[in-house]
Amino acid sequence: VNRTENRAHDPAVRERVMDAALELGYVPNAAAQRLRGRRNRTVGVIVRDVGLAANAAVLRGIREVAHGANYLMVVADTKRWCMDEPRWVQRFHEQRVELVVIAASGVDDTDYTGAMAEAVGAFEADGGRVVVIGRHDLDVASIRVDNVRGAYDLATSMLAMGHRRFGVIGGNGKLTLNRDRLSGVRAALADGGIDLDRDVMYLEGAFTREHGNAAARHLTMQKKPPTAIVGLSDDLALGAYRALREQNLAVPRDVSLGGIDDLAPARALQPALTTVSYRHLEIGARAMRAALDPYLGHDAVEVHYELALRETVAAPREQRTHRSRSRSSRRTDEACATPRR
């Protein structure tokens, strides 16, 4: 069923599968019901990768409020199979879970949105409550952050330092999170006279450290490598951070690096990561509070962000830009440079 939902392009097949799935959701398991009473004080949380630092922080925030209100929290990890998410909502429904928080970015896909709308609609119609984090095309309460402006501010600050050659590392391009952050960077660069789609190498993949690492390697191998790299998440930037170090490139002396999220590791690094602080703990806590507050209805709660200008962004070294055409001269230069400290 999972495969069919994800891959079936024939609308008739898809409809059949969807009907079957919905039917399953509406037929409660009698044996299970005998074991349970009424709706139980549980919040079901849906994420796509519990291993990502950003998700970990959001989950901690949800947990704090949930446990404080004496709710259990169960976390469903869909491993990026987003079509599993409506099925999880149905499963939670079936298990009489009271609240659902979708802690995963919206997906720009009509199949996904349609299936989600149906599942959360049924869940709420039956007395449950759903809250989504991020920009989803769903009529439920939501926690919003301005990803476009955050990314815009970050890129603008790098431009202000004098950077002209950028490399951008993105996650999954279908996610509204990625789209918003990318369009923020695009707008900032356009204001600086740079056309992202024409002049900037943009490498899309998954929101993981592994992709950040591989993409940063690729960027530094270019004939004219960027002087500034933007990771559209901290996980991507952390992967890039390690790749740069492994190639003996000093941050920010050789390459500037910016992330977006501001997770715990960003501050622990030396140099500490310049990033956009999105307060994930607060986002999680607000989401849980919104789930517990029926009077909020389907409103959106905005969580503010701020730019965290730390140590990984500095002015590009102009002379280096001219000399670093060939890798050998870069090596020599590196060897001659006096080590810091």
Binding site: G51, Q95, P265, L269
Partner: protein, 346 residues
């Protein structure tokens, strides 16, 4: 003889002196072979105890979903994130559905989650959080896990637990012993240890390893050198400040996990102390950030992804008579944060 309602297959197995799996094969008519002698013992024990099969549990067992429930102590701790990644990658393509429960180290909540996973018809429960040194709690956990296994569920434990089941055991003691040996060999004698929650078996085993290393070197171990932490980054930071506030002057700090070591690094930086020139610092686990901090952290590599994968492999194999134990080695990784004791310092 107890009321027939409350007699479970576990009681039958105990009375017959066979494993739960064997008892289940006999009573639930599995087609796997059981010797006639064992079969007779099980049937006899069931008759004696007036055991009645739980049809409800069986109905649930048959309708079992692909849900794998993983119980962790802190979902935000990279230690668990990395184990979960291993669990995920082992389950890729199998249609496995992952449901993670975060106890935040609350014993009562752990029990509630076990009940909840049972009710959610999980096929497997992986207890990724460390075991507890708490007899009453362990008995309560045992009762719930027995009921779950009885209904056809699979249980895999990570770390040392007081429950007989399939388990993946990282060598916490051996890893700590090797780590502290490296510290002592570099001339450090004033060693402070940032400990974990005292009731966890992981804390016990790692501390034990530290003690052994001191004994190996013919040195006395003073338990006053242990300051309390709770495995969180914040606690590592606080413990380090507390250590200096009470007049400690260690030349090396051993944190029993990397998260606390990273916290300690922040605290040392705030106090103007250089690592490793003024004080050496080591951690445990080798979470990804350990290699990224400056100086990079000397630690014990616990192959967390691998542990998650092995746990899932055990869960997928058919139940066996005895418990299967997979031992996982823990290797010291020397990085820049560990140096020789400065001769100018005490």
């Amino acid at each position: 003889v107890r009321d027939a309602e409350t007699v479970t297959l576990v009681d039958v197995a105990r009375r017959a002196g066979v494993s739960l799996a064997t008892a289940s094969r006999v009573m639930n008519g599995s087609d796997r072979k059981v010797s006639p002698e064992l079969r007779e013992r099980v049937v006899g024990a069931a008759r004696e105890l007036r055991y009645v099969r739980n049809a409800n549990a069986q109905a649930l067992a048959k309708a079992r979903s692909a849900i794998v429930g993983v119980i962790v102590h802190d979902i935000g701790d990279p230690y668990f994130s990395e184990i979960l990644r291993g669990v995920e990658s082992a389950g890729e393509g199998t249609g496995q559905l992952l449901l993670v429960c975060d106890t935040h180290r609350d014993l009562e909540r752990e029990l509630e989650y076990l009940t909840l996973l049972h009710a959610h018809r999980a096929s497997t429960i992986v207890i990724a959080g460390s075991g507890h040194e708490d007899r009453a709690h362990n008995a309560a956990v045992g009762t719930r896990l027995d009921a779950f296994v009885n209904g056809g569920g699979r249980v895999v434990l990570i770390g040392r637990h007081h429950y007989a089941g399939d388990a993946v055991l990282p060598d916490n003691r051996g890893g700590a012993r090797a780590l502290v040996r490296e510290v002592l060999e570099r001339g450090h004698r004033a060693v402070a240890i940032i400990g974990g929650p005292p009731h966890l078996t992981t804390t016990h085993d790692r501390l034990d390893g530290c003690r052994l290393a001191f004994a190996d070197a013919g040195l006395a171990f003073d338990s006053a050198c242990v300051v309390d932490g709770d495995f969180s980054r914040e606690s590592g930071e606080a413990a380090t400040h507390a250590l200096y506030a009470r007049g400690g002057e260690p030349t090396a700090i051993v944190a029993l996990n990397d998260e606390m070591a990273v916290g300690a690094l922040t605290a040392l930086r705030e106090r103007g102390l250089r690592v490793p020139d003024d004080v050496s610092l080591v951690g445990f686990d080798d979470i990804p950030v350990a290699a990224d901090v400056t100086p990079a952290l000397t630690t014990v590599n616990v192959p967390l992804n691998h542990i998650g994968e092995v746990a899932m492999r055990l869960a997928r194999e058919p139940a066996s008579d005895g418990s299967r134990i997979e031992h996982v080695a823990a290797q010291v990784v020397i990085r820049a944060s560990l140096g020789k004791r400065s001769l100018l310092k005490p």
